[in-house]
Amino acid sequence: MYNTEIQINVEGPRRMISFLSGGEVLFSISETVVTGWLVIILLFIAMKVLTHNLKLKPESKRQVIAEWIVEFFNNLVAENMGTTMLGFAPYICAIFAFALFGSLISMTGLRSMTADISCTGTWAAMTLFLITFYKIRTNGFFGYLKSYAEPTPVITPINVLSEVATPAAMGIRIFGNISSGMIITSMVYAALTVASNAVYNLIGTSSVITDYFKVFQIGIPAALSIYFDLFSSVIQSYVFIMLSMTYIGQAAGKE
């Protein structure tokens, strides 16, 4: 008889590597960081392959793809932040690639990098830093402080709140989308396991194959995966960089 009780384990990222000091855990490296390293290595290899042996006139397909990527991000930045801030294109491209592949890596069975708020929160903090930096550079430090007291000084707390809320919302948006997708997928997997177990109990089969092979888990989770993994990851990464570009462009005083 197989177990027909729904068991859902929703846990945060596991601790992969722990540094011990006299029997006590000093600090540990979480799954998110290890997945991040994996994504960085994969992206590094991909970029090395794409930009290997460049020619003035593109001869290989690789170079056409590389040029298309560069041109796409240059155009995007020029469109949203102005041509004076084209230096942001590599940063935007890096964030997009990291967010996209960090989310898409869940399709290989690993835990998504972006299903951890410390990861997306870091990116949001980077955006907040850039916004503040460009505001100070455009208006001067006192002009920046003065902008909080506009239109009237009474409204200052609300201005401070909205200053922090925009990047915080960006971080929570991508985290919430990816992690809720992960939780819903794991719930569906648990439900399908129970359904398969019930069918096995009904037929009365029990073997090594039916221990690990749950019949309803074929195909059905794939449809969910298309929405939660593919669609959600691409759209949310795109939204993240779009909002970053818009806010930083605004802070830099783009006309």
Partner: protein, 98 residues
Amino acid sequence: MDMQTMSHEDVLTLAKAIVLCGQGIGAGLALIAGIGPGIGEGYAVGKAIETIGRQPEARSAATSTMFIGCAVAESTGIYGLLIGFLLLFANPFLKHLS
């Protein structure tokens, strides 16, 4: 069973039951947040289809803008969903019992 005859374990069990019950109700209420984005996104998609119908050449621009708008509008619903999941799986209030 009145309060005098209840042992400490009984009180704890009762308290835990109340907390779990509240968490369930709270998770359900949190998902009411899904109404707003549903209406909003439906409206946005409807307007985008209207635009495409009027100007078929603006199809790609309207579609990408609509997706971004939908993803932004969705965030309030996602916050509600997140709170619901936290209440269901993370049991944040149980550790206050002792």
